[in-house]
Amino acid sequence: MASEKKLGNRTLKILEDLAERIIPSGGPDYPGARDTALVERMLERFGEFPIAVTGLKLFAWSWELAPLWFFKFRLFTWMSPEQQTAFLESWEQSRLMLRRWTVLLTKGVFMAAFYNQPLVWEKIRYQTGKCYRVVKGGEGK
């Protein structure tokens, strides 16, 4: 796919790691980022806007380099999954607004894309546009 090629394997790896830490795959409940090819789906959508692909690349590399700013002396993708999760969590709970909002926006992008899939809706039993009148009437029967 054009946008995947434009981003390159390394950038894809950063995005996949981020997505997988935010919405992990496996587990008994429902699928995660990798199971639903979340990053590929996002790229398909982002591919419609060339400027967004460039933005995504910048965004991914900002995360890749982020640990260096906090003296971790390693890149994000070099960390183990547990370390990546701990790193993201420390940002999410940070009182420094910039750190906190960076992770909130990142989470928002991945979550919005993930929870906008009919497969996931089915797992959480979300019924889109269902008429409450009908559902409520059905309950009474």
Partner: protein, 511 residues
């Protein structure tokens, strides 16, 4: 003049129009002004940047809704501590197309404050009442019936009643076609919500108004200190790129592009700003979504999302109103990452959510940013932060009284709370702005009206002090935050301005 609605794809080549009145924006302010003036028999042209959507052509994918029916994909954000997401509609019907449809009259104490502090004439509650009644009739305003209220709202009301708080069902602009599908903010799939494109605009067209969709106003034409028209681009509906030009000559220009884009257009044209107040005094009525987890199923996505209110704390400037959103928006607002977040969303059916909005005294500023985008600076004041922490605490207290197992207050150092004791901790501790996650939907005040040209942008009837026959009829004219959803107030004040325009500007013998 024969009324007609034109969509961008129908228009080829340049468009040149001429009318007594040209209205920019088809939301709560513009549509009302257009219809009322057309009803008086004046020729009207209405311009709307967005496209026309209805139950037959809504985008199916929620992501597409944000791209097509919201400005900046719904990602308009204020800069400051904390950043606040401020989604604004861009469609025929403006934000009324994507709002929850809640109708509130301007509170009497707010109107009296405007009279007292800002010396604004003609806004006493009894003087405004006929306008509110007229608007409510036109938009089919009625309290939400129990039939479509949804458990999310019912459970919160149960909690509030247990605590003895004043509460009730909200009044909305919806008719019997509203089935409580729960997706008001994505555009109503049944046209049950009566946004302005379903009442005011069709009526204006019947009365002879010519409505142009995908028409972006760019240049306000002024001659001898008097507005004479507007120029701009016809946009390609799909790409949003300009494909041709239009111009409209008029006697009266009504600007109703909303509290962010009206001042932005004035700034771009370097107009009407002798007071230096254009784009200043912005209030956004910020709110926090307080989510709760129950043992039993709530199924909050079924039923009208914003169907109930608690106004017990209105005197403190706090209003609690129902809000429940689709999974893609819920998930982003909940705490945690990884498995914990996933587990929480697995219980989506057991989640409930309510909004806590504060009547802000903070004053933001709108600047002209790069690529013509608005740059909004809004640093929440200490007083408003205190109000916000109280608002969260009240909502959390009600959820706990209703039987919630856990409450998620959107505060970074307290991702969840489970007892009243923790609510008290929240109340006692001083919150910092950066620790909150806020959203806002009601920008207002950025071209405020007043009785002195030195300190305000428009006079008490919405006419610019500097440019004759240029009126503003959107929420930007409100001198303070209303403390309630502004749609009905915008409509009532637009109606009032339309009456004034007819009597003072366009009637035979008027100046």
């Amino acid at each position: 003049m024969e009324g007609k609605l034109f969509e961008g794809f129908e228009l080829c080549g340049e468009v040149a129009e001429s009318a007594e009145v040209c209205v920019i924006g088809s939301g709560a302010g513009g549509a009302v002004a257009a219809k009322e003036l057309a009803e008086y028999g004046h020729s009207v042209v209405l311009l709307e940047e967005g496209s026309k959507w209805n139950k037959d052509n809504y985008p199916k994918d929620p992501m597409d809704v944000f791209r097509k029916m919201y400005r900046d994909n719904g990602g308009t954000i204020t800069l400051g501590r904390p950043p606040v997401i401020l989604p604004i509609g861009k469609a025929l019907g403006g934000t009324t197309k994507v709002n929850s449809g809640t109708c509130f009259k301007t509170p009497n104490k707010v109107l009296r404050r405007w009279r007292r502090e800002f010396a604004i004439e003609g806004v006493e509650p009894e003087q405004m009442l006929p306008y509110f009644e007229r608007v409510e009739k036109m938009v089919s305003a009625a309290p939400v019936s129990r039939e479509v209220m949804g458990r999310n709202n019912e459970v919160f009301l149960e909690g509030a009643k247990k605590l003895g708080y004043s509460c009730g069902p909200l009044t909305r602009n919806a008719n019997e076609n509203c089935h409580g599908c729960g997706v008001c903010t994505l555009g109503c799939p049944t046209d049950g919500k009566r946004s302005t494109d379903l009442n005011y605009i069709p009526r204006a067209v019947e009365l002879g108004a010519r409505v142009y969709c995908n028409a972006r106003a760019e240049k306000i034409l002024v001659k001898d200190g008097q507005a004479t028209g507007v120029g701009g681009s016809i946009l390609d509906a799909e790409t949003g790129k300009p494909k041709s030009k239009f111009s409209v000559k008029c006697k009266v220009l009504v600007l109703a592009a909303g509290a962010i884009h009206s001042p932005l257009l004035l700034k771009k044209n370097r107009l009407a700003n002798s007071s230096g107040q254009v784009g200043k005094n912005l209030r956004i009525h910020p709110g926090i979504r307080v989510t709760a987890l129950f043992d039993q199923e709530i199924r909050g996505h079924l039923g009208v999302p914003q169907a109930a209110y608690v106004d017990e704390f209105a005197n403190e400037g706090i209003m609690l109103e129902g809000v429940f959103v689709i999974p893609m928006l819920s998930a982003a607002n909940l705490p945690f990452l990884g498995e914990r977040a996933k587990e929480l969303m697995f219980h989506y059916q057991n989640l409930a959510s309510f909004g806590a909005m504060i009547m802000d005294e903070t004053r933001g500023t709108i600047y002209q940013g790069p690529w013509g985008l608005p740059l909004i600076h809004y640093p929440l004041s200490d007083e408003d932060i205190k109000k916000a922490s109280r608002a969260i605490a009240y909502a959390a207290e009600i959820w706990l009284a209703a039987g919630a197992k856990k409450v998620y207050p959107a505060v970074c150092w307290m991702p969840e709370l489970t007892s009243i004791k923790e609510v008290r901790v929240l109340l006692q501790r001083y919150l910092k702005p950066s620790e909150l996650e806020m959203m806002a939907f009601h920008p207002m005040g950025s071209c405020q009206m007043g009785s002195e040209r030195r300190t305000s942008v428009v006079d008490p009837y919405g006419e610019s002090w500097d440019i004759k026959n240029l009126f503003i009829t959107d929420a930007s004219i409100f001198p303070t935050c209303l403390g309630v959803n502004p749609m009905e107030s915008i409509m009532a004040f637009a109606n009032r301005s339309a009456d004034y325009i007819h009597k003072m500007k366009l009637s035979p013998g008027s100046a």
